[in-house]
Symmetry: C2
Subunit: 410 residues, 2 copies
DNA sequence: GATATTTTGTTGTGCTACGCAACATAGATT
DNA sequence: AATCTATGTTGCGTAGCACAACAAAATATC
């Protein structure tokens, strides 16, 4: 197999690669004039103009009609540039999350704006992969008119399972699947020939939360999704770091304590199950909810605070351990349990401070407040990213016949 | 600052980028014919020929004289290709390690072969940065004839300190340096204008150990260097992962036990200091060495075995924790303490098995047997890698005047 | 208010580097 | 010896970018 990093720039690829770079720049900065784009891409103004002409002809870019509300006193000297922007409805990408209890689908445009979403209840464990894929695909396509279908440029799937980068699932414990090639199944089920990517739900969530305009975060973000289970993802310089088996960032399996008794990992200490299990023992309510717990913590009810305190300590240890290995500069907490963090910020910080052995920089912690479609959104973003990358061009190039690329290295 | 990922392929860069790709392919595969190269790079044979012609004119590539000793019965049909190889002495790269007790320098050629090395005793803590840099530079250059100097294409420095990616050291505890810009100092001290990179010694070691011909390992390698201190590095798909502050992979600071008593991190449990401290308590010798300890372990002396057992357990916990976060598929142990591992392989494996909660894949562990110049070699490799990357071409391009690249994004 | 200045967008020219096709070459195959 | 197969080379066509010149649209300056 050829090393993709080695592929050279052929004459044909230059233009395509530059067009993609222009789209990427427009996505990142929102609006640019031809001259600004030329500077960003280190191209000549004339080349920039040609590239924009191509993209405009393709219907991907247009000149912005209304001027941006720039400050009246501060106008730059010289002929003002004509602002360019991505055409919102030119093409779109679909993302679906096959969860345990629901299926969500998201449609995004070239500007990563959410165009439409669908959510449907679902009983994952009782449904076969094939049926689940079938429902996911039809739900995703149901609100897309047939005439629009051909403008779809990618389809992403996320699901709670570890899979390799090709979308092969060894085992999906929550859904009872085993050795299925999810990406291939979706590809076959789709009435379109578009790129399909599958990804673990926490990873997809992490992508969705960082893949935003002007947020091409250069750095390392650790993402932690706390629900019943605890998932995680690592984003390095805007790209998901999957690890060798797609398990990178799954810090829920960190060992927190080697105290006697049953060995407990981070997931078992900061997950929803553990909190609610403890809370049920003390709550006076018949069927206490996590909301009740949060309220009790806010009211400083000692029993609830004690549980929260345990949670804060375990979280602190887990984050410190993880940051000592990956040296993140940003931590984002997601999932329903993340709502507990704002109530415990000071305690978590105190524990972190106590564990930190010196004044090493520790990243800031923020809470992500995405809706329930975060993971599906991330799945769609994966294909947006793929479209705006050199990879996508290879896909297009495969239509041309290739001499046998098989070549055993000596 | 412009996003490097956005830079477009200008017409001029194509050739340079393709020449670099050709060099990279030759480095990776050792010997290729023009036609093979064309396939690897997905170029036309004629283009491949032109590129090789340029490189040959530059003296970087030549046709291999003697044929490789191929099996006589297995010759391929068709005109045999003329094998091409990198010219060994065309250009070279220098790497120095400024250690606590010695300075080592390495000269490598375009094929990452070690051409020469120098090692000199050194008393780091008592010497100023400027003097250390001075000595390092002169030692590195002492065996280079003046006529050859202009063929140097890069200079790398490694030292036991955390530094940012520009080579700025906040604090080097072992050497007593503070807030020095090592890369700049070296640049100023050099009588050459070549790219200079500085890197933490463990990181450089990790680069050197993985950056080898045909070893462009696609995957995640965790590197652990165990001496008095314990350093580490992570290599992702052949590239060093520095993290936000250059601390990624420093797993020596992992917390291993929360048992009562002084909190102990991995470094304090598997470092040379701890082993020798424990061993001195039991050894009958006056001044026991690590070699004595190894011999005792091999002889199954109970007191030594007990120490080794503790070491194996702590190592296992550390590796499992790290792999749960970064999902490595390869672990390499280095440093003098790594010699203990072959004696304890089974015990470490047993501990890992006991901790691993399920049948997640766990990477294989190997021991690196580099000489003492490993870190200097890695520093040189960093510049080799830089030379064979798109980055290097930007360096060359900066000679051309640029329009003001400053441009605040709106 | 007229002119100068600055920046933008466009156009035409030139050049570079690649792809393609044709051909000579050097070995294996028959 | 004739054929086959793959390589290396050569000439031509072309795509796409840089460069320079110019018109246009704004601000700056007198």
């Amino acid at each position: 197999m050829n090393d993709p990093a080695l592929t050279a720039s052929s004459h044909r690829r230059i233009r395509q690669s530059n067009e993609v770079a222009a789209l990427k720049a427009l996505h990142q900065f929102g609006r640019l004039s031809r001259a600004e784009l030329a500077r960003k891409l280190r191209l000549n103004r004339s080349s920039s103009g040609h590239i924009i002409a191509s993209l405009t002809a393709d219907g991907l870019v247009r000149e912005a009609i209304e001027d941006p509300p720039e400050l009246p006193g501060y106008a730059r000297v010289g002929r003002p540039g004509i602002m360019l922007e991505l055409v919102p409805n030119a093409i779109f990408f679909l993302g679906v999350e096959i969860g345990v209890e629901h299926i969500s689908t998201v449609e995004i445009d070239l500007g990563t704006n959410i165009v439409s979403t669908n959510v449907e209840p679902f009983d994952g464990p009782s449904i076969s992969v094939e049926a689940a894929v079938e429902r996911a695909v039809s739900l995703a396509l149901q609100s897309i008119p047939a005439s629009k279908l051909e403008r779809c440029e990618g389809f992403g799937v996320s699901t709670p399972a570890q899979m390799d980068k090709h979308g092969l699932i060894r085992l999906a414990p929550l859904l009872g699947w085993r050795n299925v090639h999810l990406a291939d199944l979706v590809r076959d089920a789709l009435p379109l020939r578009v790129p399909v990517l599958a990804e673990n739900d926490a990873n997809a969530f992490a992508i969705g939360a960082t893949y935003r305009r002007s947020e091409t975060h250069s750095g390392v973000t650790l993402f932690l999704v706390m629900e019943s289970g605890v998932g995680g993802g690592i984003i390095i310089d805007g790209n998901l770091f999957r690890g060798a088996n797609g398990l990178a960032g799954e810090i829920g399996h960190l060992i927190i304590s080697d105290a006697p008794g049953p060995r407990r990992n981070l997931e078992q200490m900061i997950g929803l199950e553990n909190i609610m299990g403890e809370y049920r023992k003390t709550s006076a309510l018949d069927h206490p909810t996590f909301g009740n717990f949060l309220a009790d913590v806010q009211d400083r009810l000692p029993s609830a605070v004690a549980i929260a305190e345990q949670w804060a300590k375990a979280l602190a240890i887990g984050l410190v351990q993880a940051c000592r290995i990956i040296d993140a500069d940003r931590i984002v907490l997601g999932g329903s349990v993340a709502a507990l963090y704002p109530l415990m910020t000071a305690r978590v910080a105190a524990h972190i401070h106590a564990i930190q052995e010196s004044s090493f920089p520790f990243p800031s912690i923020t809470v992500n407040d995405e809706g329930t479609v975060g993971s599906a959104f991330g799945a769609a973003c994966m294909l947006h990213q793929r479209y705006l990358s050199l990879e996508s061009q290879r896909f297009a190039d495969d239509t041309a016949e290739l001499e046998e690329p098989e070549e055993d290295e000596g």
